[in-house]
């Protein structure tokens, strides 16, 4: 269920991904989205920010300001950076309450990328989502 509002960039992602059906076009698109990822400071690529539970290296930082979470993430793998970009455009800028209600699985389902979450521990997206949920539950 997604009753929460869709940020503009997320809307754009959705219409782009719904346009293409072949794995090749969708992979190209994912690689293009990887380029949209907000630059991740190299000093933040440290063990503290490393998301455990995936074989590919992934880093995540989170800040909360006036009830809105802002996440930054990066990975050494390009396709995963694309997936992270698609995750961040959906969750950044929405209120903490909206974020708590958001069904991330459903978001990737809409993009036609649900298998990227469930497929394997290698790709790491699942571990990132779990880490975000944990961060939100932790006392600030």
């Amino acid at each position: 269920m997604t009753s929460v509002s869709l940020p503009a960039q997320a809307q754009q992602a959705l219409s782009e991904f719904q346009q293409y059906k072949s794995w090749e076009q969708r992979s190209r698109l994912l690689l293009r989205w990887a380029e949209h990822l907000e630059p991740f400071p190299s000093e933040a690529q440290c063990e503290t920010n490393r998301v455990l539970g995936c074989e590919t290296k992934v880093w995540l930082t989170a800040h909360q300001c006036k009830g809105v979470w802002h996440f930054q993430a990066s990975s050494e793998a390009r396709l995963l950076r694309g997936l992270l970009a698609l995750l961040l455009v959906r969750i950044n800028g929405i209120s903490a309450t909206e974020l708590a209600q958001l069904d991330v699985q459903d978001w990737f389902q809409q993009l036609g990328l649900a298998h990227q979450i469930s497929s394997s521990r290698n790709n790491g997206l699942n571990a990132v989502i779990q880490r975000i949920q944990k961060l939100m539950q932790a006392p600030v």
């Binding site: 090749e24 190209r28 590919t56 390009r78 396709l79 497929s119």
Partner: protein, 401 residues
């Protein structure tokens, strides 16, 4: 001429996978199953199950007899010497843990436990943890630049304090055979127990244990076209007599009162609880199937495929092959593409290969890489499978480079 496999049709999953557009090149992780195994499982469950070593009834006797016959069959397949036993475990991992716990009382502070630098986590962690528990020292035999075990270095590292040597027959990452014979002789000359991890090797070269002379040999049924949840621990009787039981429960004891017990010798003393009966009986069917295959033709088929795989990868620019693979599998990386990206796009095209650290993180660190892709072969694979893989690889590289 297209290289085809005369045994492909014996594995019903291959046709079903093809129907779904999938190509299976991950047999080093687990292998598909032949029809006779499926029939044996169906037969056992349909004809009436019974527990082994317990009941007096006819069904129990029949099952126990069939179950015990499989030990002999496995021993025969391994060309095991007479003064030895076959113990059933849940897998290679459990077999090695059994050994590490069973030998624990024999290990003193300062003793040395030797492994090689290319061991799978299953043949690293049980020894690493045993060393930590007992204040012993884990000694790692190094590799040379080409990924082969450095025998000269090994000579100086196996010494009077060496109590165990645990080593693979065939590397699950580099695909090279280890020089078992000289290592076994050297370790045994120092009075050490030698454990050979045959998980990868046995599928491509069943051992002759009479000649090999190791104290213990372990493997998993599921990698050698058998059912899941079953491993084999072969041990020389004299070596097994040194082990203490590690899991306690039904049927592994001679006698107990509330406070004390006497345990059975191997094999039953190391098989607490109900064993995986169906898997043991199913594995017998797999072995019968493998027996009727012409060994020379089987090995030649896999060697030709392996050589074509290796050549095809070598022809592509930017591909770096790990080590000097001799059989069964080839692991590789690309100079400018992350292995996870490559793996994902190959998978999108319906080709199943393995990616990651292959349960050998220290080896990856040693090679200075963050993971690798691995293509591995079974006797049912053919040239068309390789063509599909190369096509997927080329398409993926076109997108990523």
């Amino acid at each position: 001429m297209m290289l085809s496999s005369p045994w492909r049709a014996d594995f019903p999953a291959l046709a079903n996978l093809a129907h779904q557009g999938l190509v299976y090149l991950d047999s080093a992780a687990t292998a598909q199953k032949p029809q006779p195994l499926l029939d044996a499982l169906q037969h056992y469950y349909a004809q009436g199950v019974a527990n082994v070593h317990r009941a007096q009834h006819r069904l129990g006797n029949r099952t126990t007899q069939a179950f015990e016959q499989v030990r002999e069959q496995v021993a025969h397949w391994l060309q095991a010497p007479v003064d030895s036993e076959i113990i059933f475990t849940r897998g290679t991992t459990e077999a090695i843990n059994l050994l590490a716990y069973g030998l624990e009382a024999q290990i003193q502070p300062g003793d040395e436990l030797v492994i090689s630098a290319l061991e799978h986590h299953a043949n690293l962690l049980p020894w690493q943890q045993l060393a930590l528990r007992r204040g012993a020292r884990l000694v790692v035999l190094p590799l040379d630049a080409s990924g082969q075990l450095d025998l000269v270095a090994a000579q100086s590292l196996i010494g009077p304090r060496t109590r165990t040597l645990a080593i693979s027959q065939l590397s699950n990452v580099l695909g090279n055979w280890l020089p078992l014979k000289p290592l076994i002789q050297q370790a045994q000359a120092q009075g050490a127990w030698v454990v050979v991890d045959g998980a990868q090797g046995i599928v491509h070269q069943p051992p002759n244990l009479k000649q090999l002379g190791c104290d213990f040999y372990v493997f998993s049924s599921h990698k050698v076209y058998g059912p899941d949840g079953l491993g084999v621990l072969y041990g020389r009787r004299a070596a097994l007599a040194q082990l203490q039981p590690w899991q306690f429960g039904g049927e592994m004891l001679d006698h107990t009162d509330y406070y004390r017990a006497q345990f059975r010798p191997a094999p039953l003393g190391f098989e607490a609880g109900t064993p995986p009966i169906a898997s043991v009986l199913g594995f017998a069917a797999t072995l019968n199937y493998l027996y009727q295959i012409d060994q020379a033709a089987w090995i030649a088929h896999e060697q030709r495929l392996h050589s074509n795989l290796l050549t095809g990868l070598q022809q592509r620019s930017g591909i770096r092959i790990l080590g000097q693979p001799q059989a069964a599998l080839v692991s590789f990386t690309h100079e400018s593409v992350h292995p996870s990206d490559l793996a994902q796009l190959i998978s999108e095209q319906g080709v199943a290969i393995r990616t990651g650290s292959h349960c050998a993180q220290p080896l990856m660190q040693h090679l200075g890489i963050n993971g690798a892709l691995r293509v591995s072969l079974g006797l049912y694979n053919d040239q068309q499978d390789l063509e599909r893989f190369f096509q997927a690889l080329d398409q993926a590289l076109e997108l990523l480079v």
